[in-house]
């Protein structure tokens, strides 16, 4: 994962924490000035949503290649030749030793 994605992720997390902190600070300010709490100011809401999107984007880019969700597509690549091999049950009394005197 490139460092750019790591920076995006860290930036997203920092902004998220900052938004949470400012929301808490806003509520305590309202409590101190004895105003009613109806809703958070618009900029905090926007910052929260934006930082969430940023964090999610950063995490998915860091996570790497996604696996196919349909299980049968993954299995289509398997062949009977390899699926039929059972390593715990390998026998050695085949003709292989003739090729190696």
């Amino acid at each position: 994962s490139s460092s750019m994605n790591k920076y995006i992720f860290i930036l997203g997390m920092v902004l998220l924490f900052h938004a949470a902190y400012s929301a808490a600070q806003h509520r305590s300010y309202l409590r101190l000035t004895e105003q009613e709490f109806t809703s958070l100011p618009a900029d905090i809401v926007l910052q929260t949503i934006f930082s969430l999107l940023l964090t999610v984007f950063g995490v998915t880019m860091i996570a790497g290649e996604f696996k196919e969700i349909r299980s049968n597509i993954d299995l289509q690549k398997k062949t009977w030749k390899n699926l039929n091999n059972r390593p715990s049950f390998y026998t050695f009394n085949h003709r292989g030793h003739i090729f190696n005197p």
């Binding site: 289509q76 026998t91 085949h94």
Partner: protein, 291 residues
């Protein structure tokens, strides 16, 4: 070996891939070991012991006793009291056909550790190598009574039953496997093949449904398509088939034949031609419909 793997890291990754995919390319493994990894063994770290085991088994396959002894001695040096290394020693005796020695060692391991699954499986393999299939089956069924979730063992038991032509019991083993992974088109195809081999109208019906499920999951599964074509043609020409289902069956076989010829065209394979496909359709006795 066409490619020259110069870098030991590529070789290590390739061997790891083969380990996970259960590929049995023993000559290539031994060649790669001799050319590349033997000189870089120290750099492999913990993975080196897994590689040693892999090379050991590959060397036994090729009967290259030098390499096998070298790997075993290195493993013995590092893990002197290990039951896993003892099991590898028993495998070496198996490869040299000293079956009594091997059985002694395995019995010792089992006495020391009742839960050791791998040594019990080696006992089954020893009986199989000596041709004592009935004992092998008995040993394997006892093993499966204890370790019921072991998919490898169920597959092995299925193969043993097929070799003894006990189709019902083999079908039962594949059913156990299907419980674990119902989306695996290869298991479905295997089950269908056993049912098809048993014969009879009801078994052909079952086989047809399993073949179609396998073909649905993997449209490129040639064996499933062939099975679909053959079962539907057989059922259509059977007297027990009600006439409206006959038309369905014949349509199904035509569809399967089309899919096969499409695949063959796209693959550009010289292995079979469209004439053989047509010929197979004409081989059916009493097949009145012409494709």
């Amino acid at each position: 070996m066409e490619k020259q793997y110069k870098h030991w890291e590529d070789v290590r990754d390739l061997l790891r891939n083969w380990r996970e995919e259960n590929c049995r390319q023993s000559e290539d493994v031994v060649d790669l070991w001799n050319e590349v990894l033997a000189n870089h063994f120290g750099k492999l770290g913990d993975e080196g012991w897994l590689v040693l085991e892999q090379v050991f088994i590959a060397a036994l396959d090729c009967h290259n006793m030098e390499v096998a002894n070298f790997c075993l001695s290195k493993l013995n040096q590092e893990f002197p009291d290990s039951l896993r290394v003892k099991r590898l020693k028993a495998m070496k005796y198996e490869a040299s056909e000293k079956y009594e020695h091997a059985l002694d060692i395995l019995d010792l391991i089992i006495k020391k550790d009742e839960t050791n699954a791998a040594s019990r499986k080696r006992k089954v393999t020893i009986y199989k190598s000596q041709g004592m299939i009935i004992e092998a089956i008995k040993e394997l069924t006892d093993y499966l009574r204890i370790f019921m979730a072991d998919q490898e063992a169920w597959m092995e038991l299925c193969d043993l039953y097929i070799s003894q032509q006990e189709w019902n019991k083999a079908a039962f083993c594949v059913e156990e496997l299907l419980l674990h992974s119902p989306f695996n088109h290869l298991y479905l195809q295997r089950y269908a093949e056993i049912k098809y081999t048993q014969g009879g109208y009801e078994n052909l019906e079952v086989a047809r449904s399993y073949y179609s499920q396998a073909a649905k999951l993997n449209p490129k599964n040639v064996r499933a398509l062939y099975g679909l074509m053959l079962t539907s043609v057989h059922m259509a020409s059977n007297s027990k088939c009600p006439s409206q289902k006959k038309k369905e069956r014949i349509k199904l076989s035509e569809w399967a034949t089309n899919q096969l010829s499409q695949l063959q065209d796209s693959n550009d394979s010289k292995l079979f031609s469209s004439q053989i496909l047509e010929g197979m359709g004409n081989l059916q006795i009493g097949n009145d419909s012409k494709n």
